[in-house]
């Protein structure tokens, strides 16, 4: 069994029991059918209970789960005819932030998204999904291409943050993100973004200025990681759970703060327990939002987007 999460233990134990019974049944040691069914039902219920009551810090663990689907899973489960387009035409090709044409059923789109790996080698190659300026510049190039081809943009957000490194600073990490925020406000085509795992601060927002912003139920989206916040405001990273609580980073909190438009449900047991079901839910949510946005004129889209982000924030006048 892969690294299980502490709070998943009751479910894992049930699953093991079911597995055992199934093996015994297969070896003809008796009829366990009704028994297995009952256990499976119980297991589903337990999963539902556990996942409905996750704390913000537990949600962070789910959002970072090593088995959670990554962009490449979604590309094969949701899209077809993906044509990856490489390079920012300035410096290089960032494997942590990728993109290209893709089809959602018959709907043609430009897909951009953070690309985490599924193992160490892959993660090293993809810099753990932490993009550098060339990644953000490539994404902007592709979004402008989408404008020219008149196809909507679909953005998949899953990053712990933009890469904090010497080379990234030299090449203008701040400018690259800032440019995207500014230019995305002016895109003449619909943009739908979904936070699928970690929405890590400016690195997430750099491809997140969208007409509809969706979020998987167990994804998190935050201005800073709970660990980072704890080590600054509590001067001790062991207060991460409290920081996660205070920062209001779960999909539910973000919906009530008006930052996201819809929560996309995950199967009981989290996205990692059933990639296909998660992908299906994302696909229908994307299609629903695209259908609503595609008829709007470029002027209307830009106006709506401006108004949407103008209203973000709460203050006293």
């Amino acid at each position: 069994m892969e690294r299980e999460l502490e709070f998943e233990k009751p479910v894992v134990e049930l699953e093991r029991a079911i597995e055992k019974l199934k093996n015994s049944a297969a070896e003809n040691k008796g009829d366990f059918g009704p028994h297995i069914e009952e256990l499976e039902k119980k297991c589903e219920e337990r999963k539902r209970e556990i996942y409905d009551a996750l704390s913000p810090w537990q949600t962070v663990q789910v959002a970072r789960h090593p088995k959670r689907p990554v962009l490449h899973d979604y590309i094969s489960l949701i899209f077809k005819d993906f044509v990856e387009l490489h390079g920012d035409r300035c410096f290089g090709d960032d494997r942590a932030l990728i993109g290209g044409f893709a089809k959602l059923d018959a709907q043609k789109v430009m897909l951009v998204g953070h690309s985490k790996g599924k193992n160490i080698d892959e993660n090293v190659r993809r810099n753990f999904g932490m993009a550098k300026p060339e990644g953000y510049r490539k994404a902007l190039r592709l979004m402008r291409l989408a404008e020219k081809f008149n196809v909507p943009v679909v953005s998949f957000i899953d990053t712990s943050g933009a890469y904090p490194g010497l080379d990234a600073e030299q090449r203008g990490q701040a400018e690259a993100i800032a440019r995207n925020l500014t230019e995305m406000a002016k895109l003449e085509i619909p943009v739908v973004a979904i936070v699928t795992g970690e929405g890590g601060s400016g690195g997430a927002l750099g491809i997140g200025v969208a007409d509809s912003v969706l979020m998987l139920a167990n994804a998190v989206y935050s201005v800073i990681s709970p660990e980072g916040c704890a080590s600054i405001l509590w001067r001790d990273a062991s207060y991460s759970a409290q920081a996660a609580e205070s920062l209001k980073i779960t999909a539910k909190s973000l919906l009530s703060l008006g930052v996201i438009d819809e929560i996309v449900k995950e199967p009981a047991g989290g996205a990692h327990s059933n990639h296909q079901a998660t992908a299906n839910a994302i696909k229908s949510a994307l299609l629903k939002h695209l259908k609503k946005l595609i008829p709007l004129s470029p002027q209307k889209l830009i106006q709506r987007r401006f108004e949407k982000f103008s209203e973000m924030g709460k203050f006293t006048k």
Partner: protein, 279 residues
């Protein structure tokens, strides 16, 4: 991540303050300077030229023609939308302390005024107010000032001084990056100039939003400008960073600034650039 690790220098500043009212110590050359000489020299070290921080009204005083500043949106203030409590207590109290200490309502002062007779809209950040952090109120004022510039077709200048996003407002603080950028993005549509002046420090969420996308980006000498904090980067790449890393000079060298201008020449430079603008 990243930019929040840049801690406010307030505590050590306080100690120095307590240490002496008459003398100050230059943070660059360590020379002891007669405080009045320093202030008369627009808070620039007379020995080495180090640029100290100015508060928002000092900045307005040396930038706009005397008596022309008309403040706008001054009642906007923080409201603690998350009811955020950290190890030191509630954000609402922290914000109230900042208001009492600075006599400001937010980390930016906005309004209109004139530079050698040319009309401008200005947003001037004040580092004393929660490290100049980008709260919802800050974002609102920067956006409203941009909207005023848009509506009246008046050039917009923002002086940044900020450690970045305001963690105590969580995701809403992050959204101010998109909000402020949406505001300045619209200026292109009407050919309204936007000049960004980056002063010490301009980091994190402020550098990664409106401060970096000026039609012209100008910095003060030696200003700290960058995305991620030095300590975070050193921990990530496990190596020491060059001494000049993330200084205005470093950022100019890499192509993200148009110019570095000494404080005493800033007003003239802004006026000269705007004099090229054909409305």
């Amino acid at each position: 991540m990243g930019w929040f690790t840049k801690k406010s220098k307030e505590p050590s500043g306080k100690k120095q303050h307590h240490h002496d009212e008459i003398w100050i110590r230059c943070q660059s050359c360590s020379a002891h300077i007669f405080k009045q000489d320093f202030l008369n020299n627009i808070s620039v070290c007379p020995k080495c030229g180090w640029h100290g921080k100015l508060n928002a009204y000092e900045r307005i005083g040396i930038t706009l023609d005397s008596g022309t500043f008309r403040e706008m949106f001054e009642t906007v203030r923080p409201c603690d939308p998350l009811r955020f409590v950290d190890g030191k207590g509630p954000y609402s109290e922290k914000a109230e302390q900042a208001r009492a200490k600075t006599k400001l309502n937010e980390s930016v002062v906005t309004g209109t005024g004139k530079i050698n007779g040319l009309e401008v809209v200005v947003g001037v950040m004040d580092f004393r107010f929660l490290g100049g952090s980008l709260g919802s109120g800050t974002g609102e004022k920067i956006l409203q000032a941009a909207n005023y510039a848009y509506d009246h077709r008046i050039p917009y200048i923002i002086f940044s001084a900020s450690g970045g996003a305001r963690m105590h407002e969580g995701i809403l603080s992050l959204m101010q990056m998109a909000k402020t950028c949406a505001g300045v993005a619209r200026l292109d549509e009407r050919r309204v100039p936007f000049i960004s002046v980056l002063t010490d420090p301009t980091t994190g969420g402020v550098s990664a939003s409106f401060a970096m996308v000026g039609d012209v980006n100008i910095a003060e000498p030696g200003a700290l400008i960058g995305f991620a904090g030095r300590r975070v980067i050193e921990q990530t790449i496990k190596q020491k960073l060059p001494e000049d890393f993330q200084t205005a000079e470093f950022v100019l060298e890499h192509g993200f600034l148009d110019a570095i201008v000494h404080r005493r020449d800033m007003k003239g430079a802004l006026h000269l650039i705007l004099s090229y603008y054909n409305r």
